[in-house]
């Protein structure tokens, strides 16, 4: 037989096998309610260990906390909480001892038994003791000790009164309860064999392909309607969109929602679920670095930035909201602030008054090449140029950017992110003097403005038990920021997922019907697969 005949035979066999692969074999899987999600692959399934959005989003499917964000008037709010795994709680008169009674009969996945006070103690203590890999221990530093009173009761003693303690207990980041038995048995393996009390349990992980979750029959809130969740690793938004149109995916967790992305979603009959408060994109101006140590230069900087133009270019229409405060809406203590209006002429005048009639040049300004950073900074660069402030950009890897801004290499810093939804948590990180980054001492904090003007108010807010008085304290912090001009918020960008409404229904309004943090759906068990 000639070589060509062999080649032909090989091709025929390969084609035949491919056709075999094309043949659809109906099986029980077709009857199941399967939710297909396109997102990036999480870096771990240990809920206390990852800061990535996709990891936190999938954690909510498998884990729960003692409290949860309250559902009020058909909406989920982030400012109030209600019991979840906890049944009730009491606070001692001096405000430092929380006695928490747990719900009975809450089961862990995979036969790890009933959740007890031991699991609660373990979940928090592993983070407080900074077990390798854990990230959120800092949010539990207020805890002095944890005592197991009985299997259904745990007592948490605080170092001092903490007004946001119940918010810290929410099923989010540090608040998730993990199985002590599973963690002790699996050790490092827990990362990819997680055991929680959430509506779905982990079934399997095919690296770089997908994670499969299955409905948990013994979920405390009742078995979810969805039988299986396939979490596909799809890094490209273009592929995600094709998959949504084709029906391969029901829900998309996009990298960036642009106007084009939103249009395409709309055209194919799908919808975007918008969730506040999302992330805020903002500038911090280092008030100790010349020439920004002069308030006139900071004011000129703010007059030079056309926030509306940046917002409309980046997120036209309702893709984002123009930011109204240095504390985002949805956070306790938020009040609207006033910022210098866009006025390049006034900016030039202020610069001249400050001794910079011809403006100035900022050399080697570092900016991340990822996410929104390069686009926003390029727009700002053009606007600043009009008043004589020339910014010479150095585009670097995201990790390098984070490193450089902690070395104070940029005189103003573009930043994003989400925190526990209370002004104290937010302001402490970005404006408390202990968070000023300093390469000499190794402090890698995030007070990029080098601000020292609200330590007294933050301290007062932490001991105040009257809600109204606390709100007044944080209103005052925002007034000081207005006065000192160290922060210029640009836009509040909601968490946005695309959903095929013909395949999946969600109980809350797509338009800010839920507030959430890094994840988008507070209650994934309420998502219903329609066919």
């Amino acid at each position: 037989m000639s070589r060509f005949a062999w080649l032909a035979i090989c091709l025929v066999v390969l084609s035949a096998l491919t056709v075999v692969g094309l043949v659809h074999v109906p099986d029980a899987a077709a009857q199941k309610k399967v939710l297909n999600i396109a997102a990036k692959e999480p870096d771990t399934l240990d809920p206390h260990s990852s800061t990535l959005g996709q990891s936190q989003a999938i954690s909510r499917f498998m884990f729960r906390g003692l409290t949860r964000f309250a559902i009020k008037d058909g909406k989920v709010t982030t400012a109030e909480v209600e019991p979840d795994l906890a049944e009730s709680w009491t606070l001692s008169p001096e405000g430092t001892i929380w006695t928490i009674k747990l719900k009975k009969g809450v089961q862990f996945h995979k036969g790890y038994g009933e959740m007890t006070a031991e699991d609660v103690k373990f979940s928090f203590e592993r983070q407080i003791s900074k077990a390798p890999g854990t990230r959120y221990g800092v949010n539990l530093d207020v805890i002095k000790s944890i005592e197991v009173v009985n299997p259904q009761t745990v007592q948490i003693v605080l170092k001092a009164f903490d007004p946001i303690f119940l918010l810290r207990m929410v099923g989010y980041q540090q608040g998730y309860i993990v199985s002590k038995k599973a963690m002790e048995k699996l050790g490092d393996g827990f990362k990819w064999n997680p055991v929680g009390t959430g509506p779905f349990y982990f079934d399997r992980h095919s690296p770089r392909e997908k994670i499969v979750l299955k409905a948990f029959d013994k979920f405390v809130g009742g078995r979810p309607q969805t039988d299986e969740v396939n979490w596909f690793d799809v890094p490209e938004d273009a592929t995600k969109l094709i998959g949504l149109e084709k029906g391969t995916f029901d829900l998309l967790y996009p990298e960036v929602v642009t106007a084009d992305f939103a249009d395409q979603v709309k055209k194919m009959g799908s919808i975007i679920d918008r969730r506040g408060p999302g992330g805020q994109e903002r500038f911090y101006v280092n008030m100790t670095k010349p020439p920004f140590d002069d308030i006139r230069v900071r004011k000129a900087f703010m007059h030079a930035i056309d926030r509306k133009a940046i917002k409309e270019t980046m997120y036209p229409g309702d893709l984002a909201r123009l930011a109204t405060s240095c504390v985002p809406p949805g956070y306790f203590g938020h009040v609207p602030m006033k910022f210098p209006e866009y006025n390049p002429e006034l900016a030039k005048k202020l610069l001249a008054e400050a001794g910079h009639p011809n403006g100035f040049t900022i050399k080697n300004f570092f900016i991340s090449k990822s996410f929104f950073y390069p686009k926003v900074l390029t727009l700002a660069q053009e606007q600043l140029k009009k008043v004589g402030i020339n910014v010479e950009l150095q585009i670097v890897e995201h990790a390098t950017y984070h490193e450089n801004i902690r070395k104070n290499l940029d005189p103003f810093v573009l930043y994003g992110g989400t925190r526990i939804t209370d002004a104290d948590a937010w302001l402490s990180l970005f404006f408390e003097s202990t968070e000023i980054p300093d390469p000499a001492t190794g402090n890698k904090g995030t007070n990029f403005a080098h601000y020292k003007g609200m330590d007294d108010l933050l301290a007062a807010g932490r001991v105040e038990r009257d809600v109204k008085k606390r709100a007044a304290i944080y209103a005052e912090t925002q007034k000081r920021l207005e006065r000192d001009l160290v922060c210029l918020p640009l836009q509040d960008v909601p968490n946005q997922w695309a959903r095929n409404p013909k395949r999946v229904s969600a109980p809350f309004s797509p338009d800010y019907g839920e507030f959430s943090l890094h994840y988008s759906y507070n209650y994934p068990e309420m998502l219903k697969v329609l066919n």
Partner: protein, 334 residues
């Protein structure tokens, strides 16, 4: 031949050591701290210090380097900083996906590129044949694989629904069935799994293979042009042999040596091409894994992947060198 192969393998050791040293140093020179990359905007001073200690990055560089080399000798590349999986296991799971993609795209590149190159060389004085073929080759060179990939997905996956959008098929299942001997017990299941893998492979292999075919066709065209200008071809034609015989019997055989060289280069190009192909088609594989590892400053994963890539290229080039003697008996090894 055995001695030659042994000598080449011994030479490969310092090459591999050099590559491993370069990647170790390069990862450390690259700005960006792995802990900062992992924690992003949640990084606080204390947390960063803890993370650095937990990952062993607080040890002197020399200690880290020796540790890395010693572990690598035992095929232990450590654990991924990010995901915690042992790197060797991770690479072991990704490698088959990349391997089948490279092999399949090699088939496409050879089936498309070599005939185009040969016909283009033989019909170089016929603009109606040569020019369109060269335009096809130019198209392949000009079309980035991510663009062609998206186009193929829109047409053949979305509109005609002929091929799956994502994934690599049940390759793990195929390997498991071969390993456990279930192939013989469940031959139809096995064939269906193989079919599924091939079904998932068609579009990515075509996208990568077509862009590589352009390079292959240009290289085979110039190889064929060189061969057909040799004296023995003129002699064969002068003897009155038919053109088909001249090409298949004399020219093609002598073209094999430069073609083998092309295959050596091809593997290196194909491996780099898998990065984008695996990303666009959302296939698991080494290429995408490597880029993600570098971006995340996941030192063990990046070091392990580059070491494996280097080993593949060394082995392929050794095999190619050994094959020279098979296709051309005039070549001997010293």
């Amino acid at each position: 031949m055995f001695q030659y192969a042994l000598r080449r393998l011994l030479i490969a050791v310092p090459m591999l050591l050099g590559a491993m040293t370069i990647v170790f140093v390069a990862m450390r020179i690259l700005p960006g701290d792995p802990c900062v990359a992992m924690m992003g905007d949640q990084a606080t001073g204390g947390a960063l210090a803890d993370c650095t200690r937990n990952l062993g990055l607080d040890r002197p560089l020399a200690v880290q380097y020796v540790d890395y080399l010693w572990r690598s000798v035992q095929f232990d590349f450590g654990k991924s900083f990010r995901q915690g999986y042992p790197v060797s296991d991770y690479i072991g799971r990704m490698f088959p996906h990349t391997f089948v993609l490279v092999m399949a795209s090699a088939v496409v590149a050879a089936l498309v590129g070599i005939p185009i190159g040969i016909i283009s060389a033989l019909k170089r004085r016929s603009p109606l044949i040569d020019y369109p073929l060269r335009i096809i080759a130019l198209l392949g060179l000009s079309m980035p694989v991510f663009w062609l990939g998206i186009l193929l997905l829109i047409v053949f996956s979305l509109h005609f629904d002929l091929f799956p959008l994502i994934g690599g098929g049940d390759l793990d299942g195929v390997i498991a069935m071969i390993g456990s001997g279930e192939v013989l017990s469940y031959p139809w299941d096995f064939l269906r799994a193989v079919g599924d893998v091939l079904h998932h492979l068609v579009l990515p292999a075509f996208a990568l293979g077509f862009t590589l075919a352009a390079t292959v066709s240009r290289l085979s065209r110039s190889a064929m042009l060189e061969v057909i200008s040799q004296d023995y071809i003129r002699t064969a034609r002068a003897k009155g042999q038919r053109e088909r015989l001249v090409v298949y019997k004399h020219a093609l055989r002598n073209m094999m040596v430069p073609l083998l060289t092309i295959i050596g280069i091809f593997v290196a190009i194909a491996l780099t091409g898998t990065v984008l192909t695996e990303t666009v088609f959302t296939r698991p594989g080494l290429g995408k894994m490597l880029v993600d590892a570098i971006g995340a400053r996941d030192y063990p994963l990046a070091q392990g992947a580059i070491t494996v890539f280097t080993m593949i290229i060394i082995v392929v080039n050794l095999v190619v060198d050994l094959l020279y003697a098979v296709v051309d008996p005039r070549i001997t090894f010293r």
